[in-house]
């Protein structure tokens, strides 16, 4: 019988999650896993329940997507006592997690650098943040570090919710734009991942504002499309398909090593996508548009 690979996603409909699942599923097919995906729809409690269920099923491995290791205590405990390795994507390394990737803070670095450069050292930034997520928090720390070196850049922060990030992104942008009229200085909107920034783009377009640069992270299909159309300035394409693919490939080694396994991060480098290189990028990664 094929071993079971249990995937617990915070939101299987979120674009990046979906791409990761695709990659993981492709690798699983090659390695002879049977895949089962549970959408916890943002609920940590449901994620724990799903992990317990997978443990009860005697799964061969569990992938936790985005829930930080700190919020899946019961699930980890169940997996541990059943001897099932748990890896995370964006959940960080801690507890009894065997491996992680998509930790994503470094991914954001080129985008933030690019934004600060575009601002030329002064201006206003609307940062759309999500503190509950470890990845987003780390990206924000990175942002603070880089922007902190330019005292003339002023950052306004707003927390978005999951779900609800589009609407929140749009609403926060809308209000921020009202107090930052065109012509007052250089303006930028930064999303700790693409979706809130895409919500903000809706607000910008509705107000007919083209003086604000928009930056995202992750490079989901919609972000690439927006860059191509000129509505977004830059994003870092996190190759989540490959991340999913490689993580599953790593599982064999984890299982073989058993108790001797040393937890580690297995990151996949990101690609900075801008309006200048987007055409070439799409040529290189046609799948990035979600086809």
């Amino acid at each position: 019988d094929a071993p079971l690979l249990g995937i617990v996603s915070i939101s299987a409909t979120e674009a990046n999650n979906a791409r990761y699942i695709k990659g993981a599923t492709a690798a699983a097919k090659e390695d002879g896993w049977k895949v089962s995906v549970i959408d916890a729809s943002g609920s940590a409690d449901q994620a724990n329940a799903a992990m317990q269920n997978f443990a009860g099923l005697g799964a061969g491995a569990i992938i936790d997507m985005v829930f930080p290791w700190s919020s899946i205590g019961a699930g980890l405990a169940a997996a541990k006592s059943a001897g099932i390795p748990v890896v995370t994507w964006g959940g960080g390394l801690g507890g009894s997690i065997a491996a992680t990737n998509g930790s994503g803070a470094p991914v954001a670095q080129p985008v933030i650098d690019r934004m600060v450069a575009d601002l030329g050292g002064s201006g206003d930034v609307l940062a759309l943040t999500y503190h509950t997520g470890e990845v987003c928090r780390n990206r924000e720390v990175l942002l603070d570090g880089i922007v902190g070196k330019s005292p003339a850049i002023h950052v306004t922060r707003n927390e978005v919710r999951i779900p609800g990030y589009f609407e929140d992104g749009a609403q926060y942008a809308n209000a921020w734009l009202a107090s930052h009229p065109a012509g007052g200085g250089r303006l930028a909107i930064w999303g700790c991942w693409d979706d809130p920034a895409i919500g903000a783009i809706g607000a910008l377009r509705q107000q007919g504002r083209d003086d604000v640069k928009v930056y995202g992270v992750n490079g989901n299909a919609q972000a690439i499309e927006n860059i191509r159309n000129g509505h977004m300035t830059a994003t870092a394409w996190e190759d989540s398909y490959t991340e999913g693919y490689r993580m599953v490939k790593l599982l064999a080694a984890i299982r073989a090593a058993g108790a001797n396994w040393t937890p580690r991060a297995a990151e996949v480098p990101a690609v900075l996508v801008t309006q200048q290189n987007v055409a070439q990028f799409i040529k290189d990664h046609p799948d990035a548009l979600g086809k």
Partner: protein, 329 residues
């Protein structure tokens, strides 16, 4: 010990309280706008910002006025948010993957919205499942359909600019289309409920279904109508949302559910005592939209924004209801 329990309010005090009871919520909205204007005199009270607020409020308002119809006939419709998500995916899918002309795709999706509303209604009136469970169940199924249709991947590539202009454009005197659509929907539903014979039946069914039935009103049909209108409005919101986002994205509309409910229940304290009505919902949606915008422009930190938003809800209704309960004591 004094046995005379008479505490008579002066006629003037009573009139003031009655005024408060009726217009308290609207006064709350006005006071809030004035307060924000004083706090952020340059950014808040501008034509541009007000247009933005209306624009931003329009989708929530369309879904909320539709929901109002379901609530007036005495039922809850918890499927509206999930339905909006599905319809957003569906309309982009029909345009992008199936190559349907935009008007045809929109017509198909609006029809699908009507059908989903009808299904909600049939489950409630024929199988007699409580509307909370029925619409939650249907909403969950719709989420599944959205997954099935899109495999969770947003439909992005190839969304034509003409479709984006649906929400982003302004074809009438420079007024953003979303606002025009919102005003049209609210006005049509207001006319239907308040000014037509059918509207009287709609109101009667929610007020006392047993009495409405014995007065010769087809209660089940009216309920079906309420659900259907709610479904169509949800699909309209989904279409405009997809146009606004430039993509069909699963669960993009889910969060409208709570906003719409807040608007509808805020509205029930407006002008009338605890009755749901379209105009009230419009005012409720405005309170929510102006509250969010004003707090944001003022630049309060996120946590205090939440606290103030919560307080605005309670105070807006509290003004009316306190006035009413003192006046009637």
């Amino acid at each position: 010990m004094i046995a005379d329990t008479g505490r008579r309010l002066s006629p003037r005090a009573k009139a003031a309280l009655n005024f408060l009871a009726r217009y308290g919520t609207i006064l709350g909205l006005a006071a809030m706008i004035v307060a924000f204007a004083l706090l952020s005199p340059r950014a808040f009270p501008t034509v541009g910002n007000f247009r933005n607020v209306l624009n931003q409020a329009s989708l929530a308002m369309i879904i909320a006025t539709g929901l109002t119809l379901a609530v007036i006939v005495g039922e809850l419709d918890l499927s509206v948010g999930f339905a909006a998500s599905l319809h957003g995916i569906l309309v982009t899918g029909l345009i992008v993957s199936d190559g349907l002309p935009i008007p045809v795709a929109i017509a198909v999706v609006l029809a699908a919205g009507a059908v989903i509303g009808l299904i909600n209604g049939l489950i409630v009136t024929k199988i007699r499942v409580n509307s909370v469970i029925a619409t939650l169940g249907v909403g969950t199924i719709l989420t599944g359909l959205a997954f099935a249709y899109s495999a969770g991947v947003p439909i992005v590539a190839g969304v034509p600019e003409a479709f984006l202009q649906l929400s982003l454009g302004h074809w009438l005197f420079g007024i953003p289309n979303d606002i025009v659509v919102m005003v049209a929907v609210a006005a049509a539903l207001w006319l239907l409920v308040e000014r037509t014979p059918l509207g009287q039946e709609i109101q009667a069914v929610g007020g006392n279904p047993a009495a409405a039935r014995l007065a010769g009103i087809e209660v089940d049909r009216i309920k079906l109508l309420g659900f259907t209108i709610s479904g169509v409005c949800a699909s309209l919101t989904g279409i405009l949302l997809a146009s606004r986002l430039g993509s069909g994205t699963a669960s993009a509309g889910d969060s409208y559910l709570l906003t719409a409910f807040a608007a509808v229940f805020l509205g029930s304290a407006t002008l009338r005592d605890g009755e749901f009505h379209v105009l009230g919902t419009v005012i409720g949606a405005l309170i929510i939209a102006f509250g969010f915008n004003g707090l944001n422009i003022f630049g309060a930190p996120t946590f205090s924004q939440y606290m103030l938003q919560g307080a605005i809800l309670i105070v807006a209704v509290g003004l009316s209801s306190l006035g009413r309960s003192i006046a009637e004591r």
